[in-house]
Symmetry: C2
Subunit: 157 residues, 2 copies
DNA sequence: GCCTAACCTTGATTCATTCAAGATATTGGG
DNA sequence: CCCAATATCTTGAATGAATCAAGGTTAGGC
């Protein structure tokens, strides 16, 4: 578990200013991989405990954008989902997404290293990344097929 | 180019009622692969020429949902994009998406047939589909790097 | 310690998509 | 051929993630 100064270090290496919202968002993304923006906002505010000042939702959006642009976090967004963020970057891993409850799990590269896939015909595009999303049912949902996504979410809270 | 009765046939094979909005939407999806909902609405209304009655936006959303559920069309939604639809289904082909202008092109399966990829570790999920999105620059954007997405869109209209 | 660009806050706005309620039309059976 | 049953469509409002805008605050180089 990285410490606050580790996060400060990370920010400095990519020439981003060290601010409370940024460290808090980094910590949240490391703590809860694949969290969406709302969850990150909640985590940030819960940890701050309101005693260290508020963090606006706009700040979180801005920070996530800056961190993503800097390569410190990776933004993922499976079809039908809101944006989610994770701290594993640069290793070209992929994701399994549950069709029922939306849970996301990491999957290491299917074939080899970055880029692990080559298009059969690139249509003249300059391809720089191959993203794979596996769709299916998570262990919970495959054994309890009639639980709704909403119920699933409630169960987790 | 399929005829109207071909589309009617398609609808009947999946036990969907044949209605004017459904035939019009099917025609639009076949005519303009990867179109988003707004474009489909525009196409439907342009072809109808207003002389055959209006088609509400809600009807198009409903129809696209029904057609997708029936497997007649496929819904795709690369990160950061609105939903798009195509008529090629069941062949497990993939897509290249331009990071600059958002253009999408089809790419045949890199490895084999459905499913063309196997996760290195399925994390206990029951996987039924492997979706691949290649990211890069389309031929136009790679040679004109400073054209914005908006300008690109304008150019096409 | 000061300055300035970078950053954050507050509050409003956008827009794809969905929800709701009631009208209309398709289709199988009489 | 007509009718009932219900699937589908229309109209109009609502939702909610994400963005925009304007102004105040702060980190970090000098």
């Amino acid at each position: 578990m990285p410490s606050t100064s580790d996060y400060e270090q990370l920010l400095r290496t990519v020439a981003l200013r060290v601010t409370r919202p940024r460290v808090a968002v980094l910590r949240a993304v490391y703590a809860r991989p694949h969290a969406d923006t709302d969850s990150i906002i909640a985590t940030v505010r819960a940890e701050a405990g309101d005693h260290a000042g508020r963090v606006s939702h706009q700040a979180v959006y801005d920070v996530l954008r800056a961190l993503t642009a800097a390569g410190l976090v990776r933004r993922i967004q499976p079809a039908g989902s809101v944006a989610r963020y994770e701290s594993r970057t640069g290793d070209n891993h992929h994701h399994v997404v549950c069709r029922t409850c939306g849970t996301i799990a990491d999957v290491d590269c299917a074939v080899g290293d970055t880029p692990c896939l080559v298009a059969s015909d690139d249509r003249g595009f300059e391809i720089d990344e191959a993203e794979v999303v596996y769709w299916g049912l998570c262990p919970d949902c495959s054994t309890q097929p009639d639980r709704t996504a909403r119920q699933e979410l409630d169960r987790r809270v």
